[in-house]
Each structure stands twice: as C-alpha cells, then as structure tokens.
C-alpha cells in the first residue's frame, strides 16, 4: 500500500492540453474518485499514474518513489479496465494469472495460491474454468477485479469499471467494491463520469474539468460547499438552480424577489449568481416555513419521479426546478407558493464562477479543503 503524489502534472497531445498543472495527493489506503465530464482529462490522469501514458511535465510518486519515467510493470499498480480487457480464449483463472510470472517475481505455487484467495474474496471459485464468453457481465467484472487483486499491488487503478454493467448490477457492484476496499484497504484511484458513483464510493472526490482540478473534497463537502459553479452544477441531480442576482448589503435582489443572505450583512458584490438546489426549494404548504418569505411560481412541467415530484417552475420567465413531495395533483399551468432553506444558499462570482458565499453556518467552522 502506498500514497500517490502528483506534482504539477501536465499532459499535452500535440496542441491539445489534456491535463494542466495538476497537483494531487492520495493518502495511503484512501479510495479516491476522479470525476468529470468526458474529455475532462480524468482517464488521461489515471493512465499517467499507470504509466500507459507518459507525462509532459511534472512528477508522479508512488509510495514516495518517483515513478515518472518507470515502466508500468515497475510501478506496483494493477488496473481494472472499463471493458475488463479479459482475453476471450483464456479461462477466468488463466486470465487472472497470465502475465504474473513475466515479471519473474512470483513462483507457480504463489500464483496459484493468490488466484485461489482472490477468487474466494470475490466469490468466483466455481467460475475459474470458464472462459469470458460463458460469464455474465458482473462475473467478468469480478474476474477483472480478481486479476488486479492477485497482483497484490500498492495501488488499484480503476477506469470506469462499472459503466458496462446494467443499472441494477452497477448499484450492486458499487456496494461490493466499497466492501472490498474496506477489506483490502488498498489505495485506489477510481475514474468515473457518474457523479453518483463518485459520491457513494469516494473517501474523497476529485472533480476535473477541461484538464484542470476544480475541487478535491469529501462527497458531502463537495455537495454542501462547492468551490465554484462547475462543481455546484456537476454534483447533484437534478442540477442546482442558478439565478443572476444583484447583491448589496447582504441581500440578493432579482426583479421578482429579494432574498436576505444570512450572516452576510456587509456582503456587497453586485452582479453575481445565486445557487439553490431543487431539493432546497419546497412548496410552502408542505412544511413549516423556514424562509422569511415565499414566492409564486407557475408550473410548466411536472415529472413524477416516484419518491418525489420534480416541478419546473417559472418566475418572471426564469426556470427553476423544485423537488416537491410525491403524489400531489399539480398540473402544468398551476401556480404554486415556494419556500426555500435559507441555510442552503450559494453565491458565485458572475465572471469567474468562484464561490463567494455559502449560507450554511458550518462553512466557517470547517475551513475548505479539510476532510470531515
């Protein structure tokens, strides 16, 4: 097991900068998830750690050793690929053990022993003689994991390992991965485009966009205290509502409403963007009012999600999403009264998108960047 340090990592493909000046420290035994939209550089980052991709600038250390110029096989890593990369003509067991003695570091008995114990951990002992063609998606996934576990690496690298599974299996494997990590405690870097996976699996989550680091934090802090608009809108589904407002003397004003910002009496930043998550808006008749005032909105679309009712509401031509309680008879065209949670307001700079203010009182207690 080992920690990983990325120092000023930059990767260029011809003229395109895929990753720009990335600094990241992964702690020993940590499960870190790198998330971002496609093309954000997350896979490139993972591949640079593995050594499959060279770095243009910067240094990578694994367990304190500079591995920047080392061959992948010398880095003490094992990788799980999105398409599993299982050889179709080899049995599950052969897939797991093939290549292990290339490095010359294992004896045959050792390989056998490791394959069997990995198979036991993953519950695939009776699948070992089958070829990938005779395995289900989930079983292939386990074999691919088994191949990584056999090698007992310092670091697991996982490149969207669940994205080829169907939705139900994905949820199940997600839980199993978390359990596996608890058991093995191996440092893991996990790449995904799925923010739910990122939130549920990661000790910490790294958000990348356009090759640049946006924020590294625990899932809850990422959700509660996004450092910029990109993180705020990327994390959370449905996405955070964003409204252009004018802020003077601790009050955000919009042609249709004014909202006092708690504990921010002196805040005067002019034009900025107010962010409120759909789940932090509610219909005024659903619960005791927490906001000083309520607003009227016209419903344009209703989306019953089962556990909640997602409303698209219009205020002065501006569209909001509101997560209301389920089983309500609201139809498009209805007018509803909205309240909001005053502790869940976010303010972003209009130009840079940087967070200026979060209304949650906890923000002043825990400085940003520290794990809870």
């Amino acid at each position: 097991m080992a920690e990983i340090q990325l120092e000023n990592i930059t990767k260029r493909f011809d003229d395109v900068v895929a990753v720009k000046d990335l600094n990241l420290e992964v702690k020993d035994g940590e499960f870190i998830v790198v998330v971002g939209p496609s093309g954000c550089g997350k896979s490139t980052t993972l591949r640079m750690i593995s050594g499959l991709e060279s770095v243009s600038e910067g240094t990578i250390r694994i367990g304190g050793v500079d591995v920047t110029g080392q061959e992948p096989s010398d880095r003490g890593i094992a990788m799980v690929f999105q398409n599993y990369a299982l050889y179709p003509h080899m049995t599950a067991k052969r897939n797991m053990t093939f290549g292990m003695n290339s490095a010359g570091s294992f004896t045959d008995e050792e390989i056998e022993e490791r394959a069997m114990s990995a198979a036991e951990i993953l519950n695939i002992t009776d699948l070992l003689d089958r070829k990938p063609g005779a395995l289900s998606g989930g079983e292939r996934q386990r074999v691919a994991l088994g191949r990584a576990i056999c090698r007992d690496p310092q670091v697991f690298l996982m490149d969207e390992p669940l994205s080829n599974l169907d939705a139900k299996l994905r949820v199940q494997m997600r839980a199993e991965l978390a359990k596996l990590h608890d058991e093995l405690g191996t440092t893991t870097v996990y790449v995904t485009h799925d923010q739910t996976e990122a939130m549920t699996l990661g000790d910490r989550v790294v958000v990348l966009d356009g090759g640049q680091l946006q924020q590294v934090d625990s899932p809850q802090r990422l959700y509660d205290f996004p450092e910029n608009r990109f993180v705020a809108e990327f994390i959370g589904d449905p996405a955070m509502n964003m409204i252009a407002v004018d802020v003077a003397d601790g009050t955000a004003s919009h042609p249709a409403f004014t909202i006092p910002l708690p504990d921010a009496d002196s805040l005067s930043v002019g034009s900025s963007v107010l962010g409120v998550r759909p789940e932090d808006l509610y219909l005024a008749d659903e619960r005791e009012a927490t906001s000083p005032e309520t607003f009227e909105a016209t419903v344009s679309v209703t989306e019953p999600l089962g556990d909640s009712l997602l409303l698209h509401g219009q205020i002065e031509g501006h569209e909001f999403k509101i997560q209301a309680q389920p089983r309500r008879t609201i139809t498009p065209g209805d007018t509803v009264e909205l309240g909001y949670d005053p502790d869940r307001l976010h303010l972003f700079d209009r130009d840079t998108g940087e967070a200026i203010y979060h209304s949650d009182p906890a923000v002043s207690v825990t400085p940003p960047g520290v794990t809870q």
Binding site: F13, A18, T44, L52, E53
Partner: protein
C-alpha cells in the same frame, strides 16, 4: 488520444525493425528491385549474353508493332468481356442467393466453389468438353443449333472469334466464385430496414436489384471491376496457354501471353521489359481508379 495511439505501447525501435525486416527484405529484393530493374532493362537491347543501351528503341518497336497493337486490342476486348460477363452473371446468382432463405449455406458453398478452381484445370476441362469433334458440349450446342436449322461448325481452333469466345467463357466461369463471395457479403451488409422499406413500397425484384442494391454495393462493385480486370489481364495466362497458345492468328494473344513468349521463348528481354512497364501502367491506373472511387463512396457510407 486517438484509438490507435493507445495500442502503440511497445516503444523499442530495434524490435520493430526486426519484426518488419523479413517482410521488407522480401519486398525490396523480390518486388521493388526487379520492378525498378524492369524499368532500366526496358531501355536496353538484349541477347542471351549481352545487353546494350538502346534508348527508347523497345518502346518505338512496341508501338509500331502490328502484333503488339493486336494484343492490346485483344486484351482490352477480352478484359471487357470477362469483367462484364463474370460480374453480371455473379450479380444475378448472388441476388438469388440473397433472396432465398432456405438451404442458404448449401447453395452458397455450391455456388462459390469455382473460387478453388485452378485456371489450368478450367482451361483443360473446357478444352476437352468443347473439342469440335468429340466434345460433348460442342455436340449439345450443335444439336441445339440444328433445332433452329443452323449448321454450326464450331471449329474454334481455326476461327479467331470462336476461340476468343471460348477462352472468355472459360475465364468467366473460373471467376464466378470469387465475385459471388464478395457480392453476397456486400448484399448482406445492406441494412435490413432498407430492404423492408422497399418491399413495403411494393418495389419489384428487378428494380430492387438495380435501383437499390447495385448503387449500395457500388464500392464493392468498383473493387471487383479492378480485381477482375487484373485477373483477366494476368491470371488467365494458363487458360490461353493450354487452350489456344494465343491463336489462331493472334486472336487470343493477350499481352501477358505475348510478354511471356517474347521473354522466355524469344529471349528478347528488353522488349519484354518494355511490355511489363506497360502492364505496370495498366495496374497503376486501375488501382488509382479504385482508390479514388472507394474514397468517394466512403464519404457516403
């Protein structure tokens, strides 16, 4: 990060060179070098023991030679007949193969077998079956002609046009298997939805073949025209050699046969080299056409 670059994980240049070396060695020594030497040789006059620079003599001789002009004409005519004939027949057979949905695999294998037919065997078999005096096929054709009151002599050993017809039929027969393989593959690549839409519109079978399939298959058809032309120009050599030896009176004396005779029976190597160069130009033009056309169609597909 293109797909291709992700595969290039091995960076040892020395290993790459070693892997390519056998192939490169063979193509340099046995393909490029002789091809370049053909070019050089075509400017020399040769005898069994000596060669002497002759400038464009061979080329002048070539293009003023009546027998070469005849060979050019015969070859292009032969090429046209063989390509058109084998492609049309293959197209109909392939279409029938595509249309039926029972016994398909047995039909397919019995239709493509001429792919394995050696041209020499094709030539020898039809040489016998079409013998003017004791060929059974000649006999049947003659009997059929008699029904219509025709008295067919069918002595193709003395009649140029008949000999040309006989070698053309033989060459077409041998090439059916290859064409059918490619055409059936191309038809199978046509999306089923197009087929179903055409049937729903009540388009007749013939229209479906010529108005829908043929245009959609056009990249394959162009490829086949090129391959069939090269076949007719070069690979039909055994058929000519065994059936007519270029005769009668040069009626089947295609370029490759003439080249072989000039090189290996008359030992006129410079002259033969000049003929090789003309053939190279023919191949070049064909390949160029294929590249251009398939390029153009690639943008549609």
């Amino acid at each position: 990060m293109s797909e291709q670059s992700a595969r290039e994980v091995f960076t040892n240049n020395k290993e790459a060179v070693l892997l390519l070396l056998p192939t490169l060695l063979v193509i340099v020594v046995f393909l490029y070098w002789p091809a370049i030497d053909t070019f050089r040789l075509s400017f020399f006059q040769t005898s069994l023991t000596s060669e002497r620079f002759a400038g464009t003599y061979n080329y002048i001789r070539l293009f003023t030679s009546g027998s070469y002009q005849n060979s050019l004409l015969v070859t292009f005519g032969f090429g046209f007949v063989v390509v058109a004939g084998s492609m049309l027949l293959s197209l109909f057979i392939s279409f029938m193969l595509y249309e039926v949905d029972r016994f398909t695999s047995i039909y397919l294998i019995t239709a493509i077998w001429p792919y394995a037919l050696p041209p020499a065997v094709a030539g020898l078999v039809l040489l016998f079956l079409l013998q003017p005096d004791l060929g059974i096929l000649t006999y049947w054709i003659r009997s059929l002609g008699a029904v219509f009151g025709l008295d067919l002599g069918l002595d193709w050993r003395t009649s140029g046009p008949l000999a040309f017809t006989v070698v053309s039929i033989t060459a077409i027969w041998k090439q059916l298997g290859y064409n059918i393989i490619f055409m059936v593959a191309a038809m199978n690549n046509i999306p089923n939805t197009i087929d179903e839409a055409a049937q729903l519109d009540g388009i007749s079978r013939t229209n479906r073949l010529f108005k829908i399939y043929v245009p959609l298959m056009s990249p394959t058809l162009v490829f086949l025209v090129v391959i069939n032309t090269i076949y007719a120009f070069f690979a039909t050599f055994p058929i000519i050699d065994l059936m007519t030896s270029g005769g009668p009176g040069g009626a089947t004396n295609i370029l490759i046969y003439k080249l072989f005779i000039d090189a290996f029976e008359n030992f006129n190597l410079g002259y033969a080299a000049a003929q090789s160069l003309v053939l190279f130009l023919v191949v070049g033009v064909l390949m160029y056409i294929q590249l251009r056309v398939t390029d153009r169609y690639a943008h549609y597909g």
